[in-house]
């Protein structure tokens, strides 16, 4: 309870919290002091003079700025007095002197504080008869944001946001007086990853969204609350639709998740929802080698159901598999695995295309916990590229609370500019790195004493040996030991690929020794990475994380679904592709996954299956190989829920619908397909002459009329989703509890057991492939979604291989020169880019570039980024040109 004090406004006494800004205090008592520069999320500045009031200063009434005054006992103000009113009116008159008459064509018109304030507090007439100042009107400050300097009222919000939240003060106020302009240093436009927030902060139409410019009027859109599905943070957004199109995405406040910010991917990358290349009707290929032709839903669904049922019947259910994706909603993920398990009878379902196999499914305790940490360890994760809004919270912790960062990453990521330590490593050295740190920790007597009580201690000490700890490692250990509230965040790069288990074990050892294992969290990558696991879109676990082998858990679902479930764990993502390539998997159902775009190996596997179904938004590389393509809709076109990296289940409601398209939501496609099952299963039985399964009972369980009804069933299938129905989730979502009473397998994650390090044979330095390939996620990759508008394509990652300038000099390579890079499994040609943040001895290629160069060199995405490669000058011949 804050202490209340008494202030007087216009001769009336009010009780307000001590120390509050006068503008905020006034709001509590329903006095709406107009502001421009003041903003609840930015430090007070007092730049615009819109909020002028009178204050009694030792008996004299003075004009002061309400937005910078913190109220204290006995302060007296006048808001409605003639002098105060006149002062505000004058401020507005001044602001309007040089303001252009742009309202009719200004994006802000209709939601413009300058319009509103002028109407409410302005003079109504202008005395100004001279010629207005002219400044730059269409002045891009980045590829994504347009500045109109004439509309700017110099409130400094944009400058302050970039300074206070992004810690990238790229905009400044240049010149002075009526010539003042917002601008950037020549040649250094804004490139902050959450820069779009300044568009919303701008109280006028000076900063506009280059994707949405002139495509909406604020009063003319239908606005739906949703969430962003580009990463696992699940930022809350509002989707503004107009005549069936998504015209604009803006942020929505959710203090627990995104404060009131979103990143530029969330704001600008949405054209895929309206793209003309979207699939609008089912497609069927009548015979291998033939063309895809348009078909109706009935024909397509019947064909799919019949072929899946037939294959299951004849080849056995294990010959059918489904690859979903961590981008699918909970409802889609749940129904896909239910269809596979309940109707097809196969546990071959997975979603982890390259993603962490061994990651902790619980995610982060709570997103905003990062702000309380005094040491944040970023292990193999670059939040600025992977969860940019989380990155701003981390920067706040550093800037405002003095937190330090201990960064372990193959690239010298941007946040290494902060106090702390940076330990570079090459892919493959992760476990050794953590073992070194563990050795360092054990040199400390108190660590050793505490750790001696942990199971596995002796073996660990044995295995770690007593090699010396280098200076950087010692500094990292010192940071770790002196921290009061350390927090370890690790990313998918650390726990995918061949070394995943060893990496994770060494990380957990380190965390246990540091006494930080309860505060060690996995930053899941995709919008529904956590949800897809909760829904059981995994070969060995059912909804609610019940293991396939766990009889009570399985029986509970059998009762719910009215079927018998297969008891053997199925194949994982890579295993299914391998089985397909080997001819053991005969029918494959891809829902939102695209193995063919992940290099030649994926393509070859898909070509081998007898029957390939692809359910997608676009005609992806995989869809081009399909026998049947089912057109699905984007997150904006259906209801769905997603579970973010802190286990918060959130709603994304339908915002638009394309009347010219037959594309359907995933949940509806699955439901309709299931309804056909009894018939086709009977047919298959007749054809196959022997039936192994009886599934008509199961199909009766598929009467969903909406996504919300699917969610209702989820609340019964996954114990942690109990009570999380559509209505109950509300606008801000609900977290499922970290500690679950049912003693779920999740508690095993925080096992307090030390694992002895694996004996690794030190791979001999093979001169044939002298470089380590580092591949990873960047915010603006070059995937399909980025390519939908010219504006967003411009910011996509350069199609190039980045190399340290020292290595380039030694190899005699110049920037822009084409080089050929080869690994044991593939070869690509790319232009060279020099980049000091790339470690010597490594090459950096982001995932999802056109032509999938990183994926090609790695062979499979799930191999993790560890391939050895060599580089040589090479020409870009037109046939092998990438992109």
């Amino acid at each position: 309870m804050p202490d209340l004090i008494t202030i007087t406004i216009d001769d009336v006494e009010y009780k307000v919290p001590n120390g509050m800004l006068l503008t905020d205090a006034a709001k509590l008592i329903n006095i709406d002091i107009p502001v421009f520069c003041s903003h609840p999320k930015l430090d007070p500045l007092g730049a615009c003079r819109m909020c002028l009031v009178e204050q009694d200063v030792r008996g004299r009434w003075m004009i002061v700025t309400a937005c910078t005054i913190r109220v204290a006992e006995g302060m007296k103000f006048r808001y409605a007095s003639p002098a105060a009113t006149q002062a505000r009116e004058d401020t507005l008159e001044f602001l309007l002197i040089n303001h252009p008459l742009d309202c009719p064509i200004c994006d802000k018109g209709g939601e413009c504080p300058l319009q509103d304030q002028t109407l409410k507090h302005g003079p109504g007439v202008s005395q100004f008869q001279e010629i207005k100042n002219h400044k730059a009107k269409r002045y891009p400050i980045s590829d994504l944001i347009m500045l109109d300097q004439e509309r700017c009222i110099i409130c400094w919000r944009c400058i302050r946001y970039l300074e206070e939240w992004e810690d990238k003060p790229q905009l400044g106020l240049f010149h002075r007086g009526d010539r003042s302009v917002i601008d950037f240093f020549p040649g250094q436009p804004v490139d902050a990853k959450t820069s779009g927030n300044i568009i919303e902060l701008c109280p006028v139409g000076a900063l506009t969204n280059r994707v949405s410019r002139f495509r909406y009027r604020p009063w003319d859109t239908k606005n739906i609350d949703s969430i962003c599905v580009h990463c696992s943070q699940g930022c809350n957004v509002r989707l503004d639709g107009r005549i069936h199109q998504l015209r604009r995405v803006v942020a929505r406040e959710n203090m627990a998740v995104n404060d009131e910010w979103i990143c530029d991917k969330g704001r600008f990358i949405h054209a895929f929802a309206d793209a003309p290349e979207r699939l609008t009707t089912p497609l069927i290929r009548d015979h291998k080698g033939g063309e895809l032709r348009e078909a109706g839903w009935e024909e397509a669904l019947a064909l799919v159901a019949q072929r899946l049922a037939f294959t299951a019947d004849v080849q056995g259910p294990a010959a059918v598999g489904a690859l979903g994706s961590a981008k699918l909603s909970n409802e889609a993920a749940y129904l896909l695995q239910k269809l596979m398990r309940g109707l097809v009878g196969s546990n071959n379902v997975d979603h982890r295309g390259g993603a962490a196999v061994l990651a902790d499914p619980r995610g982060l305790s709570a997103i905003r916990d990062v702000e309380q940490a005094d040491l944040i360890v970023l292990a193999g994760v670059d939040p600025a590229e992977e969860q940019p809004v989380l990155a701003t919270f981390i920067r706040r912790a550093v800037r405002r609370r003095g937190a330090k960062l201990l960064i372990l990453h193959p690239r010298q990521i941007e946040d290494t500019r902060y106090p702390g330590a940076y330990l570079p490593y090459k892919p493959g050295q992760e476990a050794a790195l953590f073992e070194g740190l563990s050795r360092g920790l054990l040199q400390e007597a108190r660590v050793k004493e505490r750790a001696a009580r942990l199971a596995g201690f002796a073996d660990l000490v044995d295995g770690l040996g007593n090699a010396a700890v280098d200076a950087a490692g010692a500094e990292a250990v010192r940071l770790m030991l002196s921290a009061q509230r350390p927090m370890i965040l690790y990313g998918p790069a650390l726990v995918s690929g061949r070394a995943a288990a060893a990496n994770r074990a060494s990380l957990m050892n380190f965390a246990l020794l540091a006494g930080c294992v309860e505060r060690t969290f996995y930053l899941a990558p995709e919008a529904n990475s956590v949800g897809a696991r909760d829904m059981g879109l995994l070969p060995a676990s059912l909804p609610g994380h019940a293991a396939i082998g766990d009889a009570p858990g399985r029986e509970r679902l059998e009762r719910l679904w009215g079927v018998k479930l297969p008891t053997q764990p199925g194949l994982g993502y890579d295993e299914m592709l391998e089985a397909a390539a080997a001819g053991r998997l005969r029918a494959l159902y891809l829902v939102g996954s695209d193995p063919a775009s992940q290099g030649p190996a994926g393509q070859a596997a898909l070509q081998k299956v007898d029957f390939l179904v692809v359910q997608e938004l676009f005609l992806t590389e995989s869809a081009k190989l399909a026998d049947v393509v089912l057109p699905a809709v984007s997150w904006a076109e259906t209801d769905g829920t997603f579970t973010n990296l802190e286990r918060r289940v959130q709603r994304a409601a339908q915002a638009i619908a394309n009347p010219h398209s037959q594309a359907a939501p995933d949940w509806l496609i699955f439901t309709e397909m299931a309804k056909l099952w009894p018939a086709v299963a009977g047919e298959a039985k007749a054809e196959g002459k022997k039936s192994k399964r009886k599934s008509s009972g199961a199909a009766r369980q598929w009467g969903y009329g909406s996504a919300a009804e699917v969610l209702d069933e989820i609340t019964r299938a996954a114990p942690m989703y109990d009570k999380l129905s559509w209505d109950a989730l509300g606008d801000e979502g609900t977290q499922w509890p970290l500690a679950d009473a049912a003693g779920s397998p999740l508690s095993a994650v925080a096992s307090r057991r030390l694992t002895p390090p694996e004996r690794r044979s030190v791979a001999p330095g093979r001169d044939e492939y002298p470089y380590a390939l580092v591949a990873g996620q960047v915010l603006f990759d070059y995937g399909t979604l980025m390519r939908q508008t010219e504006v967003t394509e411009r910011v996509a990652a350069p199609v190039a291989v980045s190399i340290n300038p020292a290595d380039a000099a030694r190899e005699k390579l110049a920037a822009g020169q084409p080089v050929s890079i080869s690994s044991a499994v593939g070869q690509v040609v790319l232009p060279v880019r020099l980049d000091e943040t790339v470690q010597p001895g490594t090459l950096w290629i982001p995932y999802s570039l056109p032509g999938a160069p990183a994926e090609t060199l790695l062979g499979s995405v799930s191999a993790g980024s560890g391939a050895r490669v060599r580089i040589a000058p090479g020409a870009l011949s037109s046939s092998e040109k990438v992109g």
């Binding site: 400058i159 003060p169 400044g172 950037f184 240093f185 500019r417 902060y418």
Partner: protein, 194 residues
């Protein structure tokens, strides 16, 4: 690459790679102020005196050394009229267009100079002899309209006297055969003008 106050830039003691001796002057000022960020104005002063104007490269150097964001340095450099971002002419004529001078018809002086020398305020003649600048209040309103020709403050000017003063300055240096004129007087206090 983005500059930040917190960025651990290359050690501030590193001299400018070009080896241009004029950077040593800047370095001396930097050291005198122990690389304190609030010495920015002094450092820019030195830079401007050493180089005649503030090239982008110079601003980047100063920003690095003081670990200040480029946008701040640029903001300060553009705020004060003393600093120039373009090469200046040998002679320099600043006409005050502040309120007091404006009321006393400074605009006519600017117009006359523009016609006489064929350039706009803010530009330099093609032969590099003269730059004309229009300034905000120069802090000597009592003398309005005020002109500063090569650092000399001239009071109560008219279009005719202004052109005569500029012509005199140009001819004097031509006669003396010496190229450079002095820059503005150091004691000139830009802070007075807020």
């Amino acid at each position: 690459m983005v500059e930040s106050r917190t960025r651990s830039a290359a050690s501030p003691d590193l001299p400018h790679p070009s080896g241009d001796p004029r950077f040593a002057l800047i370095d001396r000022t930097l050291k005198r102020f122990r690389f304190q960020q609030d010495a920015l104005i002094e450092v820019l002063h030195t830079a401007q005196e050493a180089f005649g104007f503030l090239e982008e490269d110079l601003l980047i150097y100063v920003a690095r050394q003081l670990k200040l964001p480029l946008s701040w340095v640029y903001g300060v450099a553009t705020f004060y009229h003393f600093f120039s971002l373009q090469p200046q002419g040998e002679h320099n004529c600043i006409v005050c267009m502040g309120t007091a001078c404006y009321v006393k018809r400074a605009a006519e002086i600017v117009a006359a100079l523009q016609t006489a020398y064929g350039i706009e305020a803010g530009q330099t003649t093609p032969d590099g002899m003269l730059s004309i600048t229009a300034a905000r209040c120069l802090g000597s309103c009592g003398l309005a309209p005020v002109l500063i020709v090569d650092g000399q403050v001239l009071a109560r000017e008219t279009p005719e006297t202004a052109i005569a003063a500029v012509q005199l300055a140009i001819e004097a240096s031509a006669a003396a055969g010496n190229g450079r004129s002095s820059q503005l007087d150091d004691s000139y206090d830009e802070e007075g003008d807020l």
